[in-house]
Subunit: 588 residues, 2 copies
Amino acid sequence: MAEYKAPIDDFAFTLKHLVKIDKLAQHDTFSEASTEMVDAILSEAAKVAEREVAPTNWNGDQAGATLDEQHAVTTPEGFKEAYQAFSEGGWGSLQFDPNYGGQGLPLSLSVAVNEMVQSANLAWSLCPLLTQGAIEAIHANASDALKQQYLPNMISGQWTGTMNLTEPQAGSDLALIKTTASRDGDQYRIKGQKIFITWGEHDVAENIIHLVLARLPGAPEGVKGISLFIVPKFLPNNDGSLGERNDCKALSLEHKLGIHGSPTCVMSFGENNGAIGFLVGEENRGLACMFTMMNNARLMVGVQGTAIAERALQDALAFAEERKQGIAPGAKTTSAISEHPDVERMLLTMRSLTEAARAIGFVACGGLDYEQTAEGDEAIAACASRVSLLTPIVKGWNTEIAQEVTSLGVQVHGGMGFIEETGAAQHLRDARILPIYEGTTGIQAMDLVGRKTLHDKGAAFAFLLHDIREDCKKAHDTLPAAEAIISKLLTATDKLEDAIDFLLKNTADHPRLMGDMAHSLLQVTGYVCGGWQMLNSWVACEQERQADGTNTEYLAQKEQTAHFYLQHLLPRYLGYSASIKALEEAIG
Amino acid sequence: MAEYKAPIDDFAFTLKHLVKIDKLAQHDTFSEASTEMVDAILSEAAKVAEREVAPTNWNGDQAGATLDEQHAVTTPEGFKEAYQAFSEGGWGSLQFDPNYGGQGLPLSLSVAVNEMVQSANLAWSLCPLLTQGAIEAIHANASDALKQQYLPNMISGQWTGTMNLTEPQAGSDLALIKTTASRDGDQYRIKGQKIFITWGEHDVAENIIHLVLARLPGAPEGVKGISLFIVPKFLPNNDGSLGERNDCKALSLEHKLGIHGSPTCVMSFGENNGAIGFLVGEENRGLACMFTMMNNARLMVGVQGTAIAERALQDALAFAEERKQGIAPGAKTTSAISEHPDVERMLLTMRSLTEAARAIGFVACGGLDYEQTAEGDEAIAACASRVSLLTPIVKGWNTEIAQEVTSLGVQVHGGMGFIEETGAAQHLRDARILPIYEGTTGIQAMDLVGRKTLHDKGAAFAFLLHDIREDCKKAHDTLPAAEAIISKLLTATDKLEDAIDFLLKNTADHPRLMGDMAHSLLQVTGYVCGGWQMLNSWVACEQERQADGTNTEYLAQKEQTAHFYLQHLLPRYLGYSASIKALEEAIG
């Protein structure tokens, strides 16, 4: 397998041309995010990802995390050292509030760093990722006292965080949660069992801050009766040192298809006197608090899709350039398999989907940064609704394309791809969790048609389609020769609009319709958004070239992936669009 | 996980209405294949698959096959007993020549039995499958003496067979083979190393008959200098008893993503004096001999795609009917997840793709049966060219849809799907080899555009398109209300014809074109053939209902999958067809 090399060029290009990070840096909030700072962060973070984290990936998969009889988890060799290097470098604190030790940089920049460490080792990266989510939930919802007590150590990486939602009977349906909390003075006692708790127990940091959903006595039934609690593994003393061990522990680890290095725990809370917990936000408002965390976590899982796709691409490319079989068209002797058109097709498909997914993910996260710099309620709301609309696309579409890209990664390797030592199979196994956790693709699709479309009567969608059409106009000015291709994207945009109209008009009379068309609508939107960002990338290539008169290998390659995406991958929307049309015919 | 239940209804329906096995039974060659016999074979074979083979699947995956220091392989618990039950029941001999102990039944019937045992345990099923392929190669190419000596024991299942092609430097490109053979009296001495040898060593039968490709001294370079040899593990004495151990052994087993129960061996031949081998067919004609075996093996691997898809479907369906989460449209309380439209979509996608793949595979194998009963060169050639055209579709398309179906199988299980104990992940892992071995999907696609289209100037394709259109006409008579849907299949057929015309007209001037469009053409053809068979199935449902006036649950379900396929899955061809169109625009 190839050594991971962070795609710094593509990060810088995406941040510059698609996120337009310069615009963010003009604002006081992000004045630190100068071009020089962005470049420095990308190249320094790449060193950590490439040298400290990536070497732990394959061995971590083979060894896996283990649990002993004292309920202690041992993570694979090198995980602890990689985590220390990451934390000490401040790589987990980029986007956080400087009042609690964060660096106040744009999320879109932090996302590039996240993608690197996720590519380097997806299983390992879940530890800092869950911590980031927990920091967000506490920052947005907890009292000042709790924030003072927990955030500095979490932002520094000294303590890690987890997210405790799922119970055996309550997976996608959190209304069924049974874990209980009861008031005990200023604190609460938590009792119950949670499953699928990522990094619920480990040995890479001194304390673990569990965020736990539970029900108070007499709470309303369903999701309106759930509260959120901080349940630390060790209760912190007032001076910040670690105090008593809390009444919670890992009972067992799951035996999973992939991300073996990530300890997925069955967690038991309160087997003795009840685990001590502290209420975050108001009683019975836990789900809303958790959603702060979950929305961003969904964006981050989408970015994981890009990350694992990138790693699979790099391995496949290295193999295809090395492996010689058969004679390619125009060649005289045995060729590298990368020269064969069908292998080239696979590699281009992998690269184009990965870059499109990266672009959508970064742009969506950039929306959260723009929300912070926007002035006036309307501008803020516009940013928020764009991010909100794109979130199920980033989570749903990016993780689905990761399945295809990692599977193609195996395919490019031929028979060797099926052999574990090659490493391609690990990416496929690791990737398989992404369309499941933090809400399945089906849940994302329902979120897209429901909360994100029907709820605002298609307003956010209309605004997105408007922007796509505007960008098509601009592209036409810069790339007059691309007219035929641009018009294909416009047609796709029209079809997407038709589908939304159809949904809006018929949902009331046909209650199953939203569920029946949700997946297809998510796919059409994903392919169209990918086309939009790839067209914008193509335009940016042309502009860069016009600006400084040079053509780099990177720009030529980006132009090729943009072209390939728009010509050969965008048309996949046609199948989904025809499926929606068939629903229309059925309604009559 | 659910207990495997052979889909006997769908086998019987497919054999009756799509293969039209009654027509075969009217011919002397297959006079045994009466409706009663077909039903008896399906139900008796189902017992073996369900009771003897299926219970070994999960444990076999967990334990895997192991190799000891004496180069002996131990297969997982129960594999040997299942193999004995299978062989003693005569289930490996159905389609073979009665002169050597076979039962002379149609291949299309034997394929149904193969599918059952493949669903039951894919890793295990490779042992009888490779044996069947070796029997075919020996039967078609070897001398009478070799046939007398080897076939009876192989057909009875007492000895098993293997296929030794691949070497580290020679995977898809067999021109690079280095294993040597040298004449030694009436026999040959073989020296070399082979990799990826499925069931190359094991403990389920007393002898293993290796078919080995090797080069004679002074043989022409490339594929025209390869010969085929029988290299038995134990040299048989003239009385049929086992004699001396031959100079060949398993050096190691691969650590694979899936099919852990199948020992994939690195085989060493002739480390001492050279392994004794016997020439099959003529010197330097080995590749042609091996292709007899490989073509049928490709059909059988396509059937494996159906088999693993069926198993994944059964598990997903059982889980979805059991698992309760959320409230489905129209329901009052928590629903089984199978009631949620998006889960229903996944289950219907799984079932429709599986049934379409089964139909194409069985019809293709039926073509080989019709070739045997056809009279006159022209009729025989017509059957042969149809099978030949469908082979890359069955191998390529059926195994690709198996990736989607097994992945959806995981998805339907949600978080539980990622846990190995659930069993859904095993199907995904096992399925991943199918688009690789016996020629990757890329190789199938090149076979489709090259040998199967350009070579005969599209004649076989024209004949296929003609049949599809004829069947559309017939469907219109039986199902007048389905006109709109039938016209979609006709449009798809027209687009397929356009793509073939484009290929035929432009290949000469554009040598890369065939490689560039191969994959898309394979996909379009696969989806159209699936649509064709699903439409014919729908017609057959209507005819059955008209004939006996009853509607069964099975017929209602088949009608539903046919409808779902034609409305929601067939349209996927649009994306591939648009990709071909983009190549057309690029040529200008």
